[in-house]
Amino acid sequence: MRAHSTFSMFRWIVARDLTLAWRRRADVLSTLFFFVIVVSLFPLGIGPETQLLRSIAPGVVWVAALLASMLSLGRVFANDYQDGTLEQMLLTPQPLYLIVLGKVLAQWLVAEVPLVLIAPLLGIQFNLEPSSLFILFVSLLLGTPILSLIGSIGAALTLGLRGGGVLIALLILPLYIPVLIFGAGAVDASINSVSAQANLTLLGALLVIALIFAPWATSAGLRISLE
């Protein structure tokens, strides 16, 4: 009975956030277009120097992914905070950990997955080989959930603050550095025909650690912000 109600709570949260995102499609699309445009500006600015483009591709795509995720993170809790839903969530008989996990999952599905799917297409502009495009896709697939999880901590802590958008970037971007290094490193390795396995394994390890600790830290942040 208890396991059932815990699961159904998780389902409620994810389904609700996906419905809300569908009703606010413009927000989701703006994040995606931001990512597409930032990545596409580099080949246009640098010109057809294939070797140079290929070597900067991992860094450019990954940095654009970090910045795009900053855009959507502010919204994870802000709307629910303003209309009082977050208070109700804190008062539910289910663990806050699960609610946070559900909201982060929904945010990842809505804001990050489209970006992961379109990244290989953008990689073609940088003259990447199909094998590197695949590694780019896998590294983003492993890395973007970490961005959502770590970002939710910053979103919770900056809730209700004026200028929260800038503050969240200052708080969270330094924490993204390991993800950036291993994610871009994996693609870089594959461009240089070295195995990307080490970098991808480390990304996987980071994901596990973030899954365990980030929702817990976010829950604590939410309780502080709502006092």
């Binding site: 419905t19 809300l20 009703r23 209309d83 009082g84 208070e87 008062l91 008989p93």
Partner: protein, 244 residues
């Protein structure tokens, strides 16, 4: 589902310390608030606030704007921690009960948690699902009809007036079997018919043995249960009066 089972209250005592005290009338005390003090920023809102509630009791909170009515309600539901003092539920501190306590309360605040993008039916079923008591579509429709939103179930909340939005938030109380209701300024922007509706909802809740704490300036006309009034004053004094 667990929320439905949480009421009627099962009182269990592990040791003498958890045993609730009795009020002079002989009714068991469920919620006990002892010497609560609240400080926001560098201002003390109130101190030495003490009261106890048993089944079927309504407590009306009054006091000028800024006297700490909302803070007191938020402290009682566990969203804020008090500067000093404690809150006991069936003899145990609410902090140690955590989710068990959350299952027994319903809080309706200033911010009513109605999403503009969702229609009334979605708002109601999601809010109830979050609170742990899922509603069937028929139950949800019946609840919305009772608050006067029949025919407007599928209208997004942004097309509703402020009063109608508040009514759709009130629909949550209809199938809600929690023991303690905490209602903050629920009468704001409501017409006379809706005020009568709230009064009857609270009355039904009290006659089932529930408890309610309502912060409002308006007179409540509720016949069932026993009634207490707590006035929070600007000077931090909090005299308690009891009445019929």
């Amino acid at each position: 589902m667990s929320r439905v089972n949480a009421f009627p209250l099962k009182v269990q005592y592990n040791d003498a310390a958890r045993k609730p005290t009795s009020t002079p009338g002989g009714i068991a005390t469920i919620l006990e608030v002892v010497n609560l003090e609240c400080v926001r920023g560098d201002r003390r809102l109130f101190r030495d606030v003490s009261f106890s509630l048993g089944p079927g009791t309504l407590l009306q909170l009054t006091g000028p704007n800024g006297s700490g009515k909302t803070s007191l309600l938020r402290i009682i539901c566990g969203l804020m921690s008090p500067e000093s003092g404690e809150i006991r539920w069936q003899g145990a501190q609410i902090r140690t009960l955590a989710e068990e306590y959350s299952r027994s309360i319903t809080y309706l605040g200033h911010r009513i948690a109605v999403k503009e993008e969702l229609n009334s039916l979605e708002n109601l079923s999601i809010a109830s699902g979050l609170a742990g008591c899922e509603l069937s579509p028929d139950q949800a429709k019946a609840a919305l009809a009772r608050v006067g939103l029949a025919g407007r179930e599928r209208l997004p909340a942004r097309f509703l007036s402020e009063g109608q939005r508040r009514r759709s938030a009130l629909a949550r109380l209809i199938n809600c079997n929690t023991a303690l209701w905490l209602l903050d300024e629920v009468l704001a922007s409501l017409d006379q018919a809706a005020i009568v509706l709230i009064e009857s909802l609270i009355g039904e809740h009290l006659s089932r043995g529930g408890m309610a704490i309502v912060a409002t300036h308006q007179e409540l006309h509720i016949s069932a249960g026993s009634f207490q009034r707590l006035e929070l004053g600007p000077s931090g004094m909090a005299p308690v009066e009891s009445g019929g």
